[in-house]
Symmetry: C2
Subunit: 245 residues, 2 copies
DNA sequence: CTCTGAGTGTGCGATATCGCACCCACACAT
DNA sequence: ATGTGTGGGTGCGATATCGCACACTCAGAG
């Protein structure tokens, strides 16, 4: 019964869903579902991870915190990925914080189990590595975007990345939260969001942004979003996942 | 004779040097030294790599090129690493360009050989994955630094990263080249470099920057440099490499 | 129903960087 | 020794973003 529930849940994470049946059957008992609240910290910078996390409905931000206290997001992970790649990459820790950006459910897997499965060297390993490369692309594009694009476009990119990883058009998040992710002032986000609302691409309510015209949002975004999106599809889509393509 | 030369060369790349003797002996015949000129392109964005490259004296920049033609560097690779992680990560291609930022020698290894060695699943694989994580840290820090720090500090970080990967204090590179890497205007680099020269941290000659006071340069840099440096040492240093620590 | 505070909208001067323009000067080739 | 072109220095107005201040307003608590 509990197993059946977990299996359904597992199928909602693309990496797990992309596993062959016999692999998933072996891995299922090692997964346990956990609810996560907004703002919850999965791990701190430099902290050894006890688990890896496969998000299903939750979204996790990888956040870097400067000595000054300023923050900037380096990547977003949803049901397309896994949080805790350093477990199988061999580093054990990373220099960023993993924090819940949108409440929801994750499937957690013990450190030891992750390493064991990875060491088998078959499809699980292949999927993890391909996902890690996709994540590298996202981080790279964040670097480039931070350098070259104005806030307005970056906000669009960020909203789209979040929207892709959610299952609703209503994004429950304050301008202040977004400003911490983008590493800009709260006012900058308010300004950019107001402009987007005036153009009817989103609506802007206390603590909630609703995506109205997703297609127009993609047009308003810089090329960075499409680059990342295309690369995710290439690396994890057609031929890799059972549901993509 | 040729083999002896290659072995000496191989020992100057930290990843190769960190291999156990028997592993290196097996891998040596698969390596061939190649001289690389400034500006030479190792691979284009989206282009399948025929080889991976272990730099010895050369430095390679991973450069992203926007549709507009603007560029921004996402990482620097020297004799501490390997160019072409996408070969074993499974993606085959990446969205950036690999370009020689400082002329010198690399050891190239055929795609097939790289994959074969990686698939063995032992120390070579472990080293490659740990290095990839280190590279991810560098890319992440680039993202953060691009967002939060002024050009002056970024230039220091960049000079230090380059200096670490060279074997001389004379960095042969124009302000124009550096501006393409940092994704800023050439004038911005000139201004920042002039300030550093006024403070006697570097000297500034036609096409050459010489590091005078490395320690002061580290102080002038943002924390990003130390974060990356520390993480490289942690992941690849003491206990991993035969020469580090 | 009212109070309160978190979330938002707006204005203003300061600063960093940009884009452009132009000149200078050194290194190398003739 | 002299010309030429690449690389470097400088100035200026435009723009994006910042930091701060303050006013408004909705939603939930009492």
């Amino acid at each position: 019964m509990a197993t059946k529930m977990t299996q359904d849940l597992a199928r909602t994470n693309y990496l797990l869903d992309a596993l062959h049946d016999e692999d998933l059957r072996r891995i299922l008992p090692k997964l346990s579902p956990v609810k996560m609240e907004l703002g919850q910290v999965l791990y701190e910078s430099g902290e050894k991870l006890a688990h890896a996390y496969f998000p299903t409905t939750a979204i996790i931000s990888l956040l870097y915190i400067m000595e000054s206290g300023s923050t900037a997001e380096i990547g977003i992970i949803g049901n397309d990925g896994i949080v805790g790649v350093s477990l199988f990459m061999g580093g054990e820790t990373t220099t960023n914080r993993g924090i819940i950006q949108s409440a929801g459910c994750v499937l957690q897997m013990k450190e030891k189990d992750v390493k064991e499965e990875f060491k088998r060297g078959d499809r699980f390993q292949e999927l993890m590595l391909r996902y890690t490369q996709a994540l590298m692309t996202q981080i790279s594009q964040t670097a480039v975007c931070n350098r070259l694009h104005p806030i307005d476009q970056q906000l669009c990119r960020w909203l789209l990345l979040s929207h892709d990883r959610l299952h609703t058009d209503k994004l429950v998040m304050t301008h202040d939260l977004i400003s911490n992710m983008l590493g800009v002032r709260r006012e900058g986000v308010t300004l950019a969001a107001t402009k987007l609302a005036a153009r009817k691409l989103i609506t802007n309510k206390r603590g909630t942004i609703t995506v109205i015209d997703r297609q127009a949002l993609e047009v308003a975004a810089c090329e960075c979003y499409q680059v990342v999106n295309t690369e995710y599809n290439r690396l994890l889509g057609r031929g890799m996942s059972r549901t993509f393509g």
